[in-house]
Amino acid sequence: MTVFPGSTGLVLNEPLLWERGRRGRSGFSLPRRDVERREVSPELSGEAPDLPEMSEVDMVRHYIRLSQWNFSVDTGMYPLGSCTMKYNPKTNERQCGRPGFAGAHPLLPEDLCQGALELIAALECCLAEITGLKAVSLQPGAGAQGELTGMLMFHAYHRHQGRPRSKIIVPDSAHGTNPASAALCGYTSVPVPSNASGILSPETVAAVMDEETAGIMVTNPNTIGLFEEHIKTIADIVHAKGGLVYGDGANMNAVLGLADMGRIGVDVLHLNLHKTFSTPHGGGGPGAGPVCVSQPLEPFLPVPRVVVRDGAFRWSEDFPLSIGKLQAFWGNMGVLIRAYSYIMSLGAENLKRVSQLAVLNANYIKARLKGTFHLAYDRPCMHECVFSDKLQQPHKVTTLDIAKRLMDYGFHPPTIYFPLVVPGAIMIEPTETESKETLDLFVESMKAIAAEARDNPEELRQAPTRCTRRRLDETAAARKPCLRG
């Protein structure tokens, strides 16, 4: 009798912060006052803000209880396609927490922060080597900001060529941030469909590529988990008409040490450090979205950049064609330190192994679930595989029901209803850090759910029943938004 991870246990109720607390309590040790009090003039001074007053024990209990309502990578498997929810190494937390890093002011004179500048330079070097591209900026604070950086660089490049262009080719399987980032630069997205095999055809791209098109945004491997086999030809087609190739590197976990983005012809690639490079997702962030670029795009990188001068690391703004700045300072240093620690801990061989095992894990799941669920593309996948709810539709069970029921078994659901090109998509990315036993339990759970869909579909429609909450009324939340207490 299989014992699944999903279980019940005593998890405590906890009210909202301001429903706790009482006037006069405090959870903070106020520093000793050693200077005189200087009253602020009454016109400028306001009321003390209405913040809850709690003792330290109440504050700690509040957050510990809330944390127990969350599922996380440290709790169990989180097979979200295209999110790469791999294990977040704890040594990385130790490294970014070192007082020298945690307490560093960003505007320290260069001689007083050589350690930070050296890490930035070293990480740039690592990412350039890993991607096969020439130069790197660590400034963008997330993948979407990396995309924006790329689009701004496209814009600056074409303007510098004297021919500003107005369109960007975006595959219909692209992540929503792609057209949104292009729009922020004033580009019109030109959608192109994938072919029957789930990848882009050169002919489709050639049909829309012209001198008004700034370039193409391609995710490779794509959002369905397939390697874009024609990517080099497509890059050549775009380059031939003076366009540029933007690579969305969200799925880099499949091709570390294997694909060479520079050889492929990518001009700007963003990486998601919170995906491929193991930094934690934080319940939504912070992440980091560095960009790696080819030689022709290097002059347009954000500033300042770290350079070596007279044997020391220095900031340089001497890049007149730079697009400027995306964040006030230099990027999410705390996240960069974690990614650097990860790369230094793994080395080249292990990073390649990461991709090999990530792809193995996904193909193993694909082989074991094929037939139980409808496989969207019956061909070898990379680090993620896409199923759908087609076989469960006769029982009036949807992808949503399957996802909700999986929670009761003790797994986070896969990505659902994305990419849009597969109706009812269930996209599974196990990552390389899950063991065979965990994958087997996941497969058994999915098979059990498929059987429930057939024999007892109402069980699925009522799921989840073991989480701290049942299904929530999202319609009411949107019709009458209550966004604060």
């Binding site: 209803y417 999202e474 319609t475 939340a477 949107a478 019709r479």
Partner: protein, 132 residues
């Protein structure tokens, strides 16, 4: 989501491919979205409508309908000026789901090209198109 046979398309109305319906009322056109559209969208949470007096061309987007997980543009079946909008939808967007042809109406238009009213689909043709 409902089966096509369960959806209603009143015969006295006209339809367009972008799933809006038109009711002619003494030379003016009352417009909303069809039972198929509201069923596809799911629970509607918000309807964005233009200002009274604004003019649009045929086929132009004039607003949008939102459910929790999707947003759909609304397209003009005919050209003309907006004479009235259904401001009740601001507080009760759900009537588009429960009564798409009656209380869920969205705009009333003064057609600038009355001939366009003749080129619209009948209930039967619209249903046929949905089957295909």
């Amino acid at each position: 989501m409902k089966d096509l046979s369960e959806l209603k398309f009143p015969e006295e109305l006209n339809y367009v491919d972008s799933h809006e319906w038109v009711r002619t009322e003494k030379g003016r056109a009352r417009i909303g979205i069809t039972d198929y559209a509201q069923d596809q969208l799911g629970d509607i949470v918000y309807v964005e409508l233009p200002a009274v007096g604004k003019s649009f061309a045929k086929g132009a987007p004039f607003g949008s309908v939102e459910s929790v997980k999707a947003v759909s543009e609304l397209y003009r079946p005919i050209a003309g000026k907006i004479a009235e909008i259904n401001s009740a939808l601001e507080n009760t967007p759900e009537v588009v789901n429960t009564s798409p042809y009656d209380q869920g109406w969205m705009i009333v238009v003064e057609p600038s090209q009355p001939d366009e009213l003749k080129g619209l689909l009948t209930s039967r043709t619209y249903r046929e198109k949905l089957k295909g």
